[in-house]
Subunit: 318 residues, 2 copies
């Protein structure tokens, strides 16, 4: 099959990569559409020390499975594959299972290929009224919904989302859905407009002084975003950290202590509310698509995705 | 009066510093015993950009006050002096008042002097059965009690305290008082022994691997402590950050995001439970005293306090 492989510190497009072996309990999925995430770009710089087929945002059709009724279903899939047997799994934190593999990130070949294998339990059927171009956003949208799993957001909270990249645009919409009226801070008119045109508050991100915000969600993907988020939060406020930045960064934690801030790291989230929000058209995702490339042009697509300012790049696998 | 002044990037012992002016609502306190804190040492390196009389841990006797019955009382004092009028104060966060002065730290001369001035509302009478050598620990002990104000600690929680310095030794005892059985991790036999001899669990701090702890309290006072604390915590675990480290440090926040850790900055705390714990002998503080110097030898005392491994250095002001 075709696959985009990261190995020996370089990306290669292969025409003859072996189809992944489907273990018992797993399904073999034919990928139809995939999305390039910032994490993919970080991995291609050495983050996570992963080698293999990249990609974890996808829509596909089940071709093989233990459960016959799954076959032929259009699905999206949760990316963390837990052991199901350890203490962490028993405590309901299977997304944090220490023995987990993660699709296209850790120990498991990913979605930038004609086929991928995932445990059946990870799959969610895509409703007929959702286009592939919407459903491919379920995974990053679920990551935005994780904010609401971890932090209580009420209508009286003063909230800001930092960063008008893909995750920031999704997070601003998700947090608004919780009843507050978040301010999206970014640098790009064309991106801020996506939220502004849907009635959201937006502003240009600059070196703001203390803003006394109750909750600041850092989606900048940059180390500097963390320091700014801490500046914007009120004493005893909460900073939700969605940015995964590879490597060490120069950070000042004195403010965290002086202002007694709470920092909440936030990663993958629940698929169900993300699918539901897409069905109800509560979150706009199509305006986030910058371009769609045929899979044969995956290397060009990857280069394009890495250009600052680019939003979502999709790979058409059909 | 005598005073230890930090100005123009140097410490000076003065014999003829003016006695602080007592404003309406404030008391003038004759200091009898004071303690040198790591924060004082950081300030003398430029932290907080403070210039003035250092010191914020003290016991003293009220000499002048608006309220006549305060005069002659032996007192300790909360160090944050709030405006009482702003939104932060109205929300019950007066220790975080943006207009505050802080004794010997920000905008207000401190306790390393014959006299200090503090709002009457900041003072707490010292019970007769507490010696000055115990009462002088109320301020740092209150900072340890702040942990319990911010984080729910239950008997089933797996907890570690990192660092066997002054704050770590207090924090380990306070957290143990909440019913859990914390592990104190440090580098010094003589210090660990203080907690060990009172029935606490102790171990040498090394580059431990993942320990799956529910709560890790970082009292190392070093940037490296933060990274270690994150390593020791379980996924979705909590790291309480008590260390104030001046300046930027090389930190890796990827783990905070991947493990969805919660980081809680923690600073000054409530005096009442600290005084109560000292009265009930629930926390041992006298073993933390390394040496007591006459105030005239304050500069030598300060040098001694800065030697790695030193615990509490007291200044006898009588």
């Amino acid at each position: 099959m075709r696959a985009l492989l990261y190995k020996d510190a370089k990306l290669t497009f292969l025409a003859d990569h072996p189809i992944p072996a489907r273990k018992s309990g797993e399904a073999l999925v034919r990928v139809t559409l995939a999305g390039i995430c910032n994490t993919d770009i970080e991995i291609a710089k050495g983050y996570m020390e992963f080698e293999g087929v990249l990609g974890h945002e996808f829509v596909g059709v089940v071709e093989e499975a233990d459960t016959a009724e799954l076959i032929g279903k259009r699905v999206v899939g949760e990316i963390n594959c837990a052991c199901g047997a350890c203490e962490t799994c028993a405590n309901g934190l299977s997304r944090h299972c220490p023995h987990r593999t993660v699709l296209g990130i850790h120990g498991r070949d990913g979605a930038f290929a004609d086929y991928l294998a995932l445990p059946q339990a990870n799959l969610h059927a895509v409703p007929d009224d959702l286009a592939d171009e919407e459903a491919v956003f379920v995974e990053p949208l679920a990551a935005a919904f994780e904010i609401l799993e971890q932090v209580s957001v009420s209508s009286s909270d003063r909230v800001a989302v930092l960063g008008d990249g893909k995750l920031g645009l999704l997070a601003a919409q998700v947090v608004a859905g919780a009843g507050c009226d978040p301010l999206l801070l970014g640098k790009h008119v064309s991106k801020l407009r996506i939220v502004y045109e849907r009635g959201g508050r937006t502003a240009f991100l600059k070196c703001n002084t203390k803003q006394d915000l109750d909750i600041v969600v850092d989606c900048t993907g940059a180390a500097a975003g963390f320091n700014l988020a801490c500046d914007l939060a009120r004493p005893r406020g909460t900073v939700v950290l969605k940015s995964t930045v590879a490597g060490d960064a120069q950070l000042n934690l004195a403010q965290v202590v002086i202002d007694e801030l709470t920092i909440v790291g936030s990663r993958c989230g629940p698929f169900r509310p993300a699918l539901e929000a897409l069905r109800k058209k509560e979150v706009a995702v199509k305006p986030l698509i910058t371009a769609q490339y045929p899979f044969a042009e995956a290397l060009e697509a990857f280069e394009r995705a890495a250009v600052p300012g680019t939003l979502k790049i999709l790979l058409d696998m059909t």
